[in-house]
Amino acid sequence: MKGWQTLLYKEVLRFWRVAFQTIAGPVLTAMLYLLIFGHALESHVKVYGQVSYTAFLVPGLAMMSLLQNAFANSSSSLIMSKVMGNLVFLMLTPLSYMNWFVAYVGAAVIRGLVVGLGVFAVSALFTDISFIAPLWILTFGVLGAALMGTLGLIAGLWAEKFDQLAAFQNFVVMPMTFLSGVFYSIHSLPPVWQTVSHLNPFFYMIDGFRYGFFGVSDVSPWLSLAVVGGALAAISAVAVALLRSGYKIRS
């Protein structure tokens, strides 16, 4: 096993050891959203003309949970290691900044996908789920988790205290995911808010992901792929540059 593989394995084992908190908890939260919103709105709302609201909600909730947990994995691991001081064990090793990047983001992707699968598995008990284009689902699931894992890596490097990280999560990640079309199609919004939604990269992650289920989406999946891919490349370049410079790690 190479150095980066060991770090990846350690990061996966870290969240798996507390799976009740890192996997079961987010799946339960998503189910509560599904039960409450689905029950309240099922008979009132149809999306894309023929899709039931509960069926529409499942991919959005799965993607939201996937994104939030991918972010939480890399950010919480880094801030904990920094605060507890055990990051020194990594810093003393010959692992390169690219090794750090691949391992932290890789573990975030795995946790995001596991939580997303968990949401689907439990949702299947309540509603029928169709998979029209599974490759699009996988592509947007992996790219979205990688993007959020990378963002979590940057937030974990930047934050010096847990409350700074919580602020990042509450004031950046949470609003952007909630306002990205998890609970609605942006075509139901007034034109101004449709335009604003198009500036939110989270919208493209969820819209492209949802295309894989229904074969319809608010924008072309190719446009979503370009935006999500471009955002991932840009944010990865920032994360790699920060790791390379030893930002807030090696003074």
Partner: protein, 318 residues
């Protein structure tokens, strides 16, 4: 074992930090042009008071912080440019008692080994556990260990990739006698096998017993560098030691090393001894349990620090 390539080479190493009290943009030098080599196979002591720059120097060596000037190499590998090879060559026991609360002792050691690309290292891990008295703790979570046990694991983590150079930053701070003896026996064994050891400690009797050569730092500069035996020879050869029940007059106290009731004076000859005892008598005090002993490393250390008592950290403008 001597070789052309030093185990560790410090070349004009400087580290400037923003000055907390000076004018804006000013810096203070935590390390100021530190230069010396440690040969392969040496057991080397790096001593100095708190704030002298020992941990800063070790942190640059370990790649935890970056030097402002100069360079450090480990077995010829520059710690900044050729960091991967340099880090493979060195094992560092950090001063802080840190641990990962998610894992047990064996897992922590396997991960540390894996970061260096070494898989299937259980034979060596078992040997480390045995030599450090950790065998029965292998499956115990790090959180459940006492401070002394956590310190042992830190030592094991530093040695898990069998580094030829071992750096111990105050490894026995706040630990019991049993661990100290276990640790020093093991480190001495590794040193005999050819590993180079760099030790910082405030326990000067340990440094005197273990280190063949010593450097002393004060305010970021090297103020003494020699073989331990030479440092001891150069110091005052004897020390007058006695107990008193009351405080010494200020002028006498200034020349003495005082620990509670115990008073010690550096004494080169019989005249000096007579002079000190007479001065104590004149002050109306009675010297009890009088003895004369050979100077030890602590006396040397205090003498060197006293000689450099006016030394202050360098300052500069960023």
């Amino acid at each position: 074992m001597n070789s052309v390539i030093p185990a560790i080479s410090f070349q004009s190493v400087s580290k400037a930090y923003p000055s907390p009290r000076g004018p804006k943009g000013s810096t203070f030098l935590a390390l100021d042009q530190v230069s010396f080599d440690i040969e392969q196979g040496e057991f080397f002591g790096l001593l100095g008071p708190n704030g002298a720059g020992k941990t800063t120097l070790i942190s640059i060596l370990a790649g935890l912080i970056r030097a402002s000037g100069g360079r450090i190499s480990v077995l010829g590998h520059d710690v900044a440019r050729d960091y991967a090879q340099a880090r493979r060559s060195v094992g560092v026991v950090p001063q802080e008692l840190v641990f990962d609360p998610f894992f047990n002792v064996r897992e922590a050691l396997r991960f540390q080994s894996g970061y260096f690309g070494i898989g299937r290292n259980d034979d060596w891990i078992d040997e480390l556990l045995e030599n450090l008295g950790l065998t029965d703790k292998a499956g115990v979570n790090m959180r459940a260990l006492s401070g002394g046990m956590k310190r042992r694991v830190l030592v094991a983590q530093a040695l898990v990739h069998k580094p030829p150079v071992i750096v111990l930053d105050e490894p026995t701070a706040g630990v019991d006698v049993e661990l100290r003896q276990t640790l020093w026996q093991f480190i001495a064994k590794l040193n005999k096998q050819g590993h180079t050891v760099l030790l910082t400690t405030h326990y000067l009797e340990e440094a005197e017993a273990l280190c063949s050569r010593i450097a002393m730092l004060k305010t970021g500069r090297v103020v003494a560098l020699n073989h331990t035996s030479e440092l001891l020879k150069a110091a005052s050869s004897n020390v007058l030691r006695f107990k008193v029940d009351s405080e010494l007059p200020a002028e006498l106290a200034a020349q003495a090393r005082i620990t509670g009731r115990i008073v010690q004076f550096p004494a080169h000859d019989a005249h000096a001894i007579e002079r000190f005892l007479a001065a104590v008598r004149q002050a109306g005090l009675t010297a009890q349990d009088v003895e004369i002993r050979k100077a030890d490393l602590e006396d040397v250390f205090l003498e060197v620090m006293t000689q450099n008592k006016d030394s202050v950290h360098g300052v500069g403008l960023a």
